[in-house]
Each structure stands twice: as structure tokens, then as C-alpha cells.
């Protein structure tokens, strides 16, 4: 059902072309082309070093340039810098000469992790030297539900966990290299290693006054194994000199000059372009296409029909089958596919879904008994004794990531090798997919990782890799660059599931809750559906019951920034505001009192966060008419005694009489735990998440009609601009005594409840369905 391009580039010819054009050195290892648009500093993927590596993370060149291999993907969160900081803290090298580079996912398929990285301590919550709680429970070669034993361990980038899961062994990698550099110098000078010190890439023997540099000793160090790597320890936060300081992101100079290579920028000799259309109703497939209609259009080469990607490769999600048109340029491919007649086979049961009947289905599910996830006390007795009962039902829509860079990948497949150039949050999974689709073993799959133009969820890229691999597999020998249109990106992404919640509280005569029943509803495969409701109530209530209620919908859902927690925070904190109003109490003091009544292990840190945010905001001081403040707590993990991340925010919001909302000011109190790796990155992530959840609160939703996603480009799926950015964002950190879980995805969820509460204070109207922009926000 497809036509393949006849004039393929054979590997040998391709290599010759690359070598001739770019002077690449090819020696038993295929060095991928640097595309014409890439200068050397911008090339981000693995290259064969000219000097031997000290260990798999570190290469030191004679001029002291330190290349640090990064196993996580840079998608704006600053991981290239923070991971490098963790390595270099221990390496004690000159930070000004550090150059990050992506770790090789191919080596990761072929080599086992060094023993000294394998036994990382967990449960480091109360131990400043602890390894935190990396997801080491299961060892999973695909890196889905655990961390593999392969060379770079965790290569995925998700769940705000790069620091949590990587810190211990990244610090160890730096320490192991430092110790071996010192050993090499000690051997060269025949002095005891204990007499040497290392700082800024210089090794000094104080007694003899001798010095050398890492660059001069690295080749020796590469040959000297450490006799007892298991005895090497990492620094605790009080010993940090680089970690904990504000460091600008190392790749910013490339980002302000247009030199960063994203997947979309990859260019290879002989490369052809593919534009794609998939069935707009998930689960659908191509019935027929008429390629003859477009066969003679300019640049058009061929087409490929591809099936619904194997659900085994997409974690069980059912996307759509589709067709690709291949042409000399992407625009030609896109113009041609738009003109090609395509008929779809659409499953009628999926086409029957629309937002209204899905909402009805969720409401019906909420009425059913549900699955009990937490139950404390006697909820029925609590309600019987209540002086007042408050009930509210909230909803959140389907939400995509809508990263700025549409899905893409460049793939070259020959009979014994696969090369993929891609921005990817889960390269170990993509490697597996490539092997499955092509039959080429994973050991021969080479991923050349690129920066991502936004991430916002590990599987948010959907089947971009699988599409491109299937298309290239039908055109072996030809590098194919597949690029989705924005509209296709809305079909190819996974969504945060549409959700509903019904919260019901019984208040005593003083307005304090004595019974709380929480019901959340989501499709069964929704992510994080019970996050932070499932242990106990954050705010004290003696009788608590949490049930989860599921339905079955056809939209593929996944881990979007904040996952289910973001929706649950909207439900909970909105309801707390409603309870405080019903009790006639101040929403800050109401929360504070209820926190203080709990026995939660980190309740004092939570109270500290609330107090600090309130104080920063001038809580209680008068505001002009049309302006209001709202407060909320944000935490993950604080109900247990492990790692946690705690913050509180006060949102100051104005609304004009004609209903125009402005988030005027955000005051943020955020804990540091034992230490933040790069506080500047943390600030930027907080600022970014304020905008993210502002958009969730105010503007964004995807509705379903006839089984299709309706809002599929930025004209109908609005993204706020600089004119809606809060004029004031104040961030203060306060110290706490545990390790943080991470803060890249569930901070600033309180913007949602905060704007809702401000709307209520100003207009008297309470809206419980997001986004708020669809409601009448005017007031008189």
C-alpha cells in the first residue's frame, strides 16, 4: 500500500558524503552528519570524543573543556545545566569550561551501568546525604515503571524527577572521576593521593608546590580504575559550592542566536520530507487514498499508509492510522497531502462521543459507588451531626500540552541499523519501538537526541517516533524527516483526561468540617487521578472518604504537566475557599487552623509556607474595589514521611466591570528542602507554571465533537501573551529539612482556585467549570 523511493542513499555512499562535506572522522563508529545549519557548539548529540572518557558521564579535553553527558532531555526546564551542576559539584572542575552533551541512548542499550551507580540509597527524606527516593522499586529496561540497569539508568525526563532520581548517582559520577584524576596525579608525582587537592580543574600538591590540570591528567585517569569505588561518598548540601548557586542555563547563548538544534532543524544529505494525516477520530484508520491525484504535483515522491501504532509501543493507547506523503520539501508534502482524497474508517462508537455526553457519563459515574481509595472515621455519622452541608461539583476539560515545536522525527533505516534524530522525553522507549517496528536489534538503534521545543509530559509527544519509523521503514536507505502540522500535533498528543469532582462537607456549628466526602471522576486510564486525595485529607477532618469513579472514553490520555494532581488541586482548594466562605472565616486562617489540627509529618512546613505567602502579599490589607486576593497551599507528598514539595501562593486578581481578568501579582513561598540545585531554574519553573496554570484556568480547553478534538490550533486553543503576564511575581524560598520531590510540574496549580475565588469575591458568582473565560465575568 505504499510506494518507496527508488533513489535511496546507500549507507556507504551516505557516509562518504558526510565525511567529504563536513570532514567528519569515521572510524568504526558512524558519526552522524552535522546538518548544514549546525555549528559545532550547537551540535548536541553524542560524538566520539577525541580524548578518552574518564567515565561514561565525563570527557575532559586537554584544554580542560569538560563534556558532561546528560541523560535527560532539555525542554526548557534547565536540566542540561542542573544535571551538569550535580556532576561538576563533585568533579570540582572549572564551571566556565563545561559543555553539556546528550548521552548516547545506543551505548545505553549496549552497556551496563557501573556497579557504583546501581546501589543508590532510597528514602533520603530525612538524610541530607540520602539519595532521595529514586524510582528504583522495579528495574525496567524500557524505563516505564522503573529504572533500567543500563549505562545511563534513567533516561526519561518526566514527573519533575530529574534531580530526585538522578542526583545521587550524578554526584557519584563526578566524585568517581575526581578521585581517579587525583589518583592519576598522585601516581605521576609519586605522592600520596591524600596530599592532593582539586579545585577548578587544577590539582595541587601543596607540599611540593606542583600543580597540574585535569586536561593534562585526564588521559592517565581514563586508564586508572578506582580500587574502591564503593567507598566514594557524595557531598552533603552544607559542602556544596556550585549546587545551590544561581546558574544561568548553559545553552542560552545558542537559544538567543537561533543555533539550538531542535528535532525540526535536523537536515541530512538526501533527506526527504513527510507530511502526515491521521484519522481525526482516535481508533480510526485509512480506508482509501487516491495518490494518483497528487502524483505529479511538484516535489512529490511517494506515499506511505501506516496502521494504528501498536499499542504495546504506546502504553496501550489507541491513536489512529494514517498516511504520509513524501516530497522533496515539507511544504510540498503538506500541500500535496491536503489535496489527496482520503477516506477514513471510523469506529462509530468513538464517533458518538462529544463533550456533552462525556460530561453526562462522568456525572453518572460520580453517582455510582466508585472505588474507595481512602476512608477514615465514619463519614455518615459526620454528616448526620453536621450543622451545615456544603456541596459543589467541579469540572476540568481535556487539555493537551500544545508544545510549540510540533511533533517530528528524522529517521534513516538500513537493514542493520536505525538512526533517529529526535527530541524525546523517553528515548529508551523509542529505542524499543524502533527495534520492534524494524526488526533491527536495540543495540543497533542510534538516537541522536535534540532539544525539545517544549515538553510538558513524557508521552506528550505521542507516536511521533513510531510514525516516523514506520514511514522510514517503508523507505529504507532514505533519511525521512517527518513533521506534523499543528493540527496533527493536536491529534498526536496525549491529553490530560477530562475530569469531574463532587465534594461534600458537613460543617459543625463553628464552621469546621466534621465530614468530607470527595468523589473524582475520570476515564479509567487517566493519569494521577487520585493524586493527593488518596492518603488522607490535607485539611483536618475527622471523617473522610475518597472514592474514584471511572468511565471509558476513547481519547488517549497521558502525563501532562501537573497530571491529575493539577485538577485535584483545583477541586480541593476551590472547595476550601467555599467552606471558608460558608463558615464565615478568613480563607488563609481557615486553612491554617485545619492544617494545625492534623498530624501530618510536614504540617509545620505547610503552615510556614502559608504564613510566608500571606505575609509577602500583605494579606488582609485593603484593596481597591474590583481587586481580590486568594491563597492556597500546594504540596505533593507531604501526607507521608518521605520526600515532599511544599509551597503556598497568594494571587491578587483584578476584574474590570466588563469582565476582564488580570492576575496582578503572585506571591510565592517555596521551600528549599535540604537544598535546591539551581535556584534560578526553580524560579523560572515557578514563573512558567504560573503562566501554564493561568492558561488552564482562564483560556484552555479541548472539546470533543463527533469523536474529534475540536480546538486544534492556536486560533481556537488560545495561549496567553505577555499582556496577561502578572506584573509582579515575588518568590521567596524558606529552608526545610527533607528532600524535595521536584517542582517542575505541579507548582502554581493554585492559580486555578485563586482566580475562581477572586471572581467570587468581586462578582459574587462562583464558577466551577474551567476555563473561566467561557463564563460571564461582568459585574456592576
Amino acid at each position: 500500500m505504499s510506494e518507496t523511493i527508488k533513489e535511496g542513499v546507500d549507507r556507504r555512499e551516505f557516509l562518504a558524503t558526510v565525511a567529504a562535506a563536513h570532514g567528519a572522522f569515521v572510524l568504526g563508529f558512524w558519526v552522524p552528519s552535522r546538518a548544514a545549519a549546525q555549528s559545532a557548539p550547537a551540535a548536541s548529540w553524542d560524538e566520539e570524543p577525541s580524548t578518552p572518557e574518564v567515565n561514561a558521564w565525563i570527557v575532559i579535553a586537554p584544554d580542560d573543556t569538560v563534556t558532561v553527558r546528560i541523560a535527560q532531555t532539555e525542554l526548557g526546564q534547565g536540566v542540561w545545566t542542573s544535571n551538569a551542576m550535580m556532576v561538576c559539584e563533585e568533579l570540582q572542575c572549572d564551571w566556565k569550561k563545561v559543555r553539556p552533551q546528550y548521552a548516547s541512548a545506543n551505548r545505553d542499550a549496549r552497556e551496563r551501568a557501573p556497579e557504583w551507580t546501581l546501589n543508590v540509597p532510597g528514602s533520603g527524606a530525612t538524610d541530607p546525604k540520602g539519595g532521595g527516593e529514586p524510582t528504583f522499586g522495579t528495574r525496567d529496561p524500557r524505563g516505564i515503571s522503573g529504572i533500567p540497569d543500563s549505562l545511563y539508568r534513567r533516561m526519561r525526563t518526566n514527573a519533575a524527577s530529574s534531580v530526585k532520581d538522578g542526583r545521587y548517582y550524578l554526584q557519584l559520577a563526578g566524585a568517581e572521576a575526581r578521585e581517579r584524576l587525583l589518583l592519576a596525579a598522585a601516581q605521576r608525582w609519586s605522592v600520596p593521593v591524600a596530599e592532593l587537592t582539586a579545585k577548578d580543574s587544577v590539582i595541587t600538591h601543596a607540599r611540593s608546590g606542583r600543580t597540574t590540570t585535569y586536561g593534562k591528567i585526564a588521559e592517565d585517569a581514563a586508564k586508572i580504575p578506582h580500587p574502591h569505588p564503593e567507598q566514594i561518598t557524595i557531598k552533603s548540601p552544607d559542602q556544596w559550592t556550585l549546587m545551590g548557586t544561581e546558574q544561568k542555563n548553559l545553552d542560552v547563548p545558542q537559544k538567543v542566536t537561533g543555533k539550538v538544534v531542535y528535532g525540526i532543524d535536523v537536515r541530512l544529505p538526501g533527506m526527504k520530507w513527510a507530511a502526515v494525516k491521521t484519522c481525526p477520530v482516535y481508533g480510526g484508520d485509512v480506508k482509501s487514498v487516491d495518490f494518483d491525484v497528487i502524483r505529479t504535483l511538484p516535489g512529490v515522491r511517494s506515499f506511505v499508509r501506516f496502521p494504528i501504532p501498536d499499542p504495546d509501543l504506546t502504553r496501550g493507547r489507541i491513536f489512529s492510522g494514517g498516511v504520509a506523503v513524501i516530497a522533496d520539501s515539507w511544504y510540498q508534502a503538506k500541500m500535496a497531502i491536503d489535496k489527496m482524497p482520503i477516506e477514513w474508517t471510523i469506529p462509530p462508537e468513538n464517533a458518538a462521543f462529544n463533550s456533552a455526553n462525556m460530561r453526562e457519563a462522568l456525572l453518572t459515574a460520580l453517582d455510582r459507588p466508585g472505588t474507595v481509595r481512602a476512608s477514615q472515621g465514619d463519614i455518615d455519622d459526620g454528616f448526620r451531626r453536621a450543622a451545615k452541608i456544603v456541596e459543589a461539583t467541579y469540572s476540568t476539560p481535556y487539555l493537551p500540552r500544545a508544545r510549540m515545536e510540533p511533533g517530528n522525527a528524522t529517521v534513516l533505516i538500513t537493514n542493520d541499523r536505525v538512526d533517529i534524530w529526535i527530541g524525546d522525553q523517553s528515548p529508551q522507549e523509542t529505542r524499543y519501538s524502533a527495534a520492534k517496528i524494524t526488526g533491527v536489534p536495540e543495540q543497533n538503534v542510534h538516537l541522536h537526541l535534540c532539544h525539545l521545543g517544549g515538553g510538558f509530559g513524557r508521552n506528550g509527544n505521542g507516536p511521533q517516533a513510531e510514525h516516523a519509523i514506520m514511514i522510514a521503514n517503508a523507505n529504507r536507505g532514505v533519511p525521512i524527516h517527518m513533521l506534523w502540522t499543528r493540527e496533527e500535533d493536536f491529534v498526536g498528543t496525549t491529553y490530560r483526561a477530562m475530569g469531574m469532582a463532587r465534594l461534600r462537607a458537613g460543617l459543625d456549628a463553628d464552621g469546621w468540617p466534621i465530614a468530607l466526602e470527595v468523589r473524582t471522576g475520570m476515564q479509567a486510564d487517566g493519569f494521577g487521578s487520585d493524586a493527593s486525595f488518596n492518603t488522607t485529607s490535607r485539611y483536618y477532618v475527622p471523617n473522610y472518604r475518597y472514592t474514584h469513579h471511572t468511565t471509558k472514553f476513547h481519547v488517549p490520555v497521558g502525563t501532562r504537566r501537573g497530571v491529575g494532581q493539577a485538577a485535584n488541586e483545583f477541586y480541593r482548594e476551590s472547595f476550601m475557599d467555599e467552606l471558608a466562605r460558608a463558615a464565615g472565616k478568613d480563607p488563609y486562617l481557615y486553612r491554617r487552623e485545619l492544617l494545625s489540627r492534623t498530624t501530618l509529618p510536614y504540617k509545620n512546613d505547610m503552615i510556614k509556607a502559608l504564613d510566608l505567602a500571606a505575609e509577602m502579599s500583605g494579606w488582609g490589607t485593603p484593596l481597591p474595589r474590583g481587586t481580590a486576593r486568594a491563597i492556597a497551599l500546594e504540596e505533593r507528598g507531604a501526607e507521608t514521611n518521605g520526600m515532599a514539595t511544599i509551597s503556598a501562593m497568594v494571587h491578587t486578581v483584578s476584574i474590570s466591570r466588563d469582565g476582564k481578568v488580570r492576575l496582578e501579582r503572585v506571591d510565592v513561598a517555596h521551600e528549599t528542602g535540604f537544598g535546591l540545585v539551581n535556584p534560578l531554574s526553580v524560579k523560572k519553573q515557578i514563573e512558567g507554571q504560573i503562566i501554564w496554570f493561568y492558561n488552564d484556568a482562564m483560556h484552555q480547553s479541548c472539546s470533543i465533537a463527533d469523536g474529534r478534538i475540536v480546538e486544534n490550533n492556536f486560533n481556537r486553543f488560545p495561549i496567553s501573551r505577555i499582556n496577561e503576564d502578572p506584573p509582579q511575581i515575588n518568590i521567596r524560598f524558606f529552608p526545610t529539612q527533607h528532600w524535595l520531590i521536584g517542582m517542575g510540574h505541579d507548582r502554581a496549580t493554585s492559580v486555578q482556585s485563586g482566580i475562581g475565588e477572586a471572581i467570587f469575591q468581586i462578582t459574587g458568582k462562583r464558577f466551577r467549570d474551567l476555563p473561566y473565560s467561557k463564563h460571564d465575568l461582568t459585574w456592576a
Binding site: A36, A37, E74, L75, G76, Q77, G78, K248, N249, D251, V252, P253, Q254, K255, V256, T257, G258, K259, V260, V261, Y262, I264, D265, R267, W273, P298, S329, W330, Y331, A402, R403, M404, E405, P406, H451, G453, G454, G455, F456, L483, T485, R486, L680, K684, E687, G688, Q689, I690, I691, W692, N713, F714, N715, I719, R721, I722, N723, D725, P726, I729
Partner: protein
């Protein structure tokens, strides 16, 4: 079809349909990939470049529009990344993923060329690029800093 384009002070001979959007000629034929594709409908501004000193969403104008007029892209902003906008952007560590930033910087350049001392309101109305990472807070500060740097230049 063939036509000439002058981009970043270099004349390029292009063999393409002149109705091809300028973005795709710049990215595919000229290999200047700093200008980005995102929405394809002129909404988000990731593809912003200058034609004859004016900011244009290049995904939505045919290449023929630029024939005979100077085109400026992020690659032509400075020889070595030291344009005041680039210095200011770096100083505030403005980019996150960076994908929209080429267009954002080109919009800011147009603003500063028109209004060397922009107010916040000027920024609000003229820098209308979308950023999904939410870098606006630092972008605003960087624009004000760049304005100051540009005025300090001889």
C-alpha cells in the same frame, strides 16, 4: 520558478514556487533554521522575521512578498550573539525551551526600532508572540534592559 532573496545581507538564488510561504523558503531552501514553525496560521509568532524592517509572521506570507526587500532573521541579528537584545536575554536567562524566542526577539527588535523607550503597554501591544513555557516575565525585563543598552550604544 526562480527568484532572488536578500536575507541577512546575503543574496540567495532560490529555485522554488514564489508562492511558498517565506518561512519554508528560509528554513528549507536557505537552511536558516533559527526561524521556527509552530502554528502555520500566523497566530503564534514563532516564525517572526523582518521584511524591510517590519515584523512579519513568515508562515503566512508568500516568499514573493520579500523579493527586492531586505529580510532579517535571528541569524542576521548580530555576528556573534552580542546584539543588545541577545545580551539582555542572556542576562535575564529569559529562554526556557527557547523555541519561540527567535520570533520573540525579532518582535522585540521591531518594537525597539519604533519605540526606543517602550512602556509596558507598548510591550503588551506589540510583542504578541506566544510562549508556552511562560517566559514573559523575563522577556519583559530583558526588553527594558535591551532598550537601555541600545541607547547607551554610540
Amino acid at each position: 520558478m526562480a527568484f532572488d532573496l536578500t536575507v541577512n545581507r546575503t543574496v540567495y538564488h532560490v529555485e522554488a514556487d514564489s508562492q511558498t510561504p517565506l518561512l519554508w523558503v528560509i528554513r528549507e531552501h536557505l537552511g536558516l533554521t533559527g526561524t521556527k514553525f509552530s502554528c502555520g496560521i500566523g497566530q503564534c509568532g514563532a516564525c517572526t522575521l523582518h521584511i524591510d524592517g517590519r515584523p512579519v509572521r513568515s508562515c503566512s506570507v508568500p516568499a514573493s512578498t520579500a523579493v527586492g526587500k531586505p529580510v532579517l532573521t535571528i541569524e542576521g541579528l548580530s555576528a556573534d550573539g552580542n546584539h543588545p537584545l541577545q545580551i539582555a536575554w542572556t542576562e535575564f536567562d529569559a529562554p526556557q525551551c527557547g523555541y519561540c524566542q527567535s520570533g520573540m526577539i525579532m518582535s522585540a527588535l521591531a518594537l525597539l526600532q519604533q519605540r526606543p523607550s517602550p512602556t509596558d503597554a507598548d510591550i503588551d501591544t506589540q510583542v504578541t508572540n506566544a510562549c508556552r513555557c511562560g517566559t514573559y516575565h523575563r522577556v519583559r525585563q530583558a526588553i527594558h534592559r535591551a532598550a537601555a543598552l541600545m541607547k547607551a550604544q554610540p
